[in-house]
Subunit: 337 residues, 4 copies
């Protein structure tokens, strides 16, 4: 096992049978689908947890080595439970990401027809993504929220097994969930936004004194995530934070405000930028943030799922950073600059 | 009735018996509590709607003149349904705001004790605000989501009336909901964040050709809301938008990113700033936004609930704007500047 | 009439026989050459003044209607006497500009050869532009400063007429000065920077109550000049000033710091920007400056000598400004924005 | 030894009898006065040179080890010859600064009275600082430029010795020049701006392979000088340069534009900032400049003449820089940040 973390083999997407995985379950969730792109069934132990919070807690407590939770949906935006779970509590690192398309089906117990559906259940994020379809095809249907899209499907199957009612007639869920729970698909691909995707992150505990390698090595196509707590909330404060990136030519790929919970109008900012903390430009931008912010929580540098390198021409490159360092060494020695 | 909108009497908080109100219901929600600070029971017709979407749609369709929905919670952040509902669809104006403290109780059918509670239901936002209390006092309890905090309470009452089970034993709701639905309070003030507040907005259709006065007159302590769609998503674009405010000395009180739904990493920004669109500094900042953004949706200028005027010394005041205008007129006439 | 490549015949102001012109003389200076591109000999009265200060004072006192002085040289930079003369004292307006190439000759009394030249005289700005030539061709020559390049030539002629010595053997001056004063050209085109040009401005008193039209009308290819006195001298103050232009998409074509004379490190900024004060973007930028600066002195909007319009794509155009104004009117009326 | 209020005795460089000094002469100039605050008469060899250019050239060529030239006057601004001489040619380092008050006298051959003075000579910078006095007390006097204030005094003495005329009747010069050249003071303290001061710099060749120590050690109250050549001349480019300082909390004490000599509107910027290149914040700001500029010429870090430390609270301090570096090391090792 190498001792230089930044030269370590990237833990994603090689499944590791010695590691135990946790995911936001039950089986059949999109989180499991994301996990399975990295850890095929049977290659390593993987346990479902009933919520994002529980999944994160399992990693923190050491009951799992890696956890998989959704962080961002192209339609619904950031997943608050994940963003807030990472922003507070014991530190965790994002060690990888998976982006998967989100396709919904309407599933019901075999024998049900569309005309039979008076009540529909799914997770509120899923519901938000099929509202137009439901309004058009099931205008009279009532909505009942569930803990996850898969749990809505599981509830139907469980009720069938128990010979009781589930309180609803159909579930909006992933195709795989309908399959797992033996449901019949009444309608396919019912999402209002074709092309909707969700990004999931793989979480691990940061390195301690045990020599574990956690931080993925730079690949040239990386993303860095962090949370910035502003010192004050005037608009200039946010500009000051953004200038730390602009000045070093580092592009942001996501910025989301999150309330700190103290009062209305008190925010922290959840930020993804291009590049890896091992790169000079990213390192310097992060040091700049550290100096102007009340607190910065580093959440990890990891390979981008799309493998896209940082945009060329968006600022000084690593060579320019190296040249500037050499120049500074010379002038600090009193030589001609 | 005056024809100059900006000189009109502020519609908030005077109830108007000729107006019909809509709120995110059922009765007993925090939205109704917010509405009642403006429109006491019996002073004007007020109808509950089962969701934020339905409430907004009722105002758009003319079934109500004013709608009341939550927009921001000090713990959970922006209310996506409201932010997204205002950002797209037919334009609506915010004509007032109400901020109310959020206090939760655990309520159950009379005769229930805390030891009897195995399943708890509430809205997911409410659940997020009492998680710590539940983990401490009902560590084994399961959570079932509901459409609103009040509907969880209503469900208990309805099941009792029907002589059936509700699928859960207790509801987390507002004190007023427990009272309305004849429930017994098992525990009071169970929110994890004492001092949590939620801000609600009053929505109305914008003025048309009918002479209606919609925009509240400036009071000296106003807030302006808008949605800015950036032309491109590089960090410089957001800085460019923020500079429009900074340059004119206009403070922001809220900025939240929201996905546009097109793709990961495509955002619009929901922004509140200090001041009224009728003021020179705000008007000029908004024109600047209009020029650099792909689109700006003006959501209204209205009195702040806290009555706090714009921070002094945060930039040039209206006198400085007036002086600059007078100076420009002189130099454009070829006189000494 | 000189051939002036970078200066298309400036249309403003048309030579006006009822106007009296002043120029930094004596005859034979580059200032006179600049004047003659606008006011050919014999078309209107034109008087030489012995210094930039005296020329400016003549316009201020009404002894002349228009004065011509150099403001900027491509090699030596801003002409302090002009910049400082415009920044303080009774206001004047720049009503036109002329750019002419600067070509130097070495001139002496007829019969003199290069080998005879032991002492050379010229204005210090002229000297700075021929130093390399002198070091190469007259390495032993001593330098004696003069009040203007033309006065060095005039001194030689006067001494010849008086039958005395001038204190120097040759003058560095414009070709026209050698011709006017009957001198022999020992060497042509001796400037170190081929392509050196000097920009001259035409100054007039601003409009008063007399109905005079002073400010040139916009031509689509204009320049605006001003002096900005910063409120404080921290770097953020200069950034704040520059942001007023950047925010409105107005390009600067010149910025020069000048001491205010109070103390080391106290500066004002002499600025030229693209466009005309009558344009919305320039007007708004100037109002912004007026608000954030201790003082702004408007020095005029006038046609560019090179006829080049503002760079396309450098910011919102006039249409975008007009669209933003229309939009603001609508939203201020409470209509959908 | 003159009393120099704003210039505490500069400790750098200690007069060193093994070093040879050059100054902008002749004897009696303000440059010599500046030199004498560091190198009293008789302590080390010091040679006058007839111009700033010649003084700089003497240091470059090794004919002197340290040169003293004026760089900035509180009334007239930057000294172009010095700024341009440092910006181009073989690199030199500023190793110290001296600030001295500028006091002018009107001096003439003994026996002359004020009424006898028809022609006055001095350097053009000196003339600019006594114009108001001359206009008031010698309204009819003509002005003849000289190479330095001291050379005007020297010319009078020389002409007296030669029994000839100097071409002028009185010189505007430093009190010490009148004394040196045996002139009579007709009027004292005739400068228009009481409190005018001039800042002089001590120049040396940068370190080579010879082990010489050139860069002064940090004292906690230092200044750093440099020249920045912008990549492009749009206003955003200057903002980008200034942001490099603002982002690191480094204050500027002087910024002056200078033409590069290529064309009108092409500038480089001569900049002084607070602090020493050995400090983290200054080093990082300079690296940032190096990356965004076409070229940066480092001109030295040296103790401020006024001994004033960098303004407190103007940005992150050295501790904050050190803390950020430690934090970056930890997160780069994959530990909790």
């Amino acid at each position: 096992m190498p001792t230089v973390p930044t030269a370590a083999p990237t833990p994603t997407p090689h499944p590791d049978p010695t590691r135990r995985y946790a995911f936001f379950g039950p089986v059949g969730t999109f989180s499991e689908a994301a996990l399975r792109t990295v850890v095929p069934v049977g290659t390593a132990p993987a346990d479902p947890y009933p919520s994002v919070d529980a999944t994160i807690a399992a990693v923190r407590a050491g009951r799992a080595d890696v956890g998989v939770v959704p962080i961002e949906n192209s339609v619904e935006g950031g997943v608050s439970a994940t963003l807030d779970g990472l922003a507070a509590g014991d530190p965790l690192l994002v060690v990888g990401e998976v982006v998967i398309p989100v396709t919904f089906v309407l599933a019901a117990r075999p024998g049900t027809t569309l005309a039979d559906v008076g009540v529909v259940s799914t997770h509120s994020h899923g519901y938000a993504q099929v509202r137009r379809w439901l309004a058009q095809h099931l205008p009279g249907a009532r909505y009942v929220p569930s803990l996850s899209t898969a749990s809505a499907a599981a509830g139907l199957a469980q009720a069938a097994a128990d010979g009781t009612g589930a309180g609803y007639d159909a579930a909006v869920c992933a195709p795989v969930a309908a399959e797992r729970f033996g449901l019949q698909v009444l309608a396919e691909d019912i999402g209002d936004n074709r092309g909707a995707v969700t990004r999931f992150v793989l979480l691990a505990r940061p390195a301690g004194d045990d020599g574990r390698v956690v931080l993925p090595a730079p690949t040239g196509a990386d993303r860095t995530s962090l949370v910035a707590f502003l010192r004050t909330d005037h608009p200039g404060a946010l500009v000051e934070v953004l200038e730390q990136f602009v000045t070093r030519g580092v592009n942001l790929s996501r910025i989301e405000s999150r309330p700190t919970g103290d009062a209305l109008g008190r925010y922290c900012f959840s930020i993804d930028c291009e590049g890896h903390v091992a790169e000079a430009r990213v390192g310097e931008a992060l040091m700049g943030l550290h100096r102007v912010c009340e607190q910065v929580r580093f959440l990890g540098s990891y390979p981008r799922a799309d493998g896209r390198p940082a945009l060329p021409g968006s600022g000084p490159d690593e060579d320019a950073f190296a040249a500037a360092e050499g120049w500074l060494r010379r002038v600090r020695a009193g030589r001609a600059g």
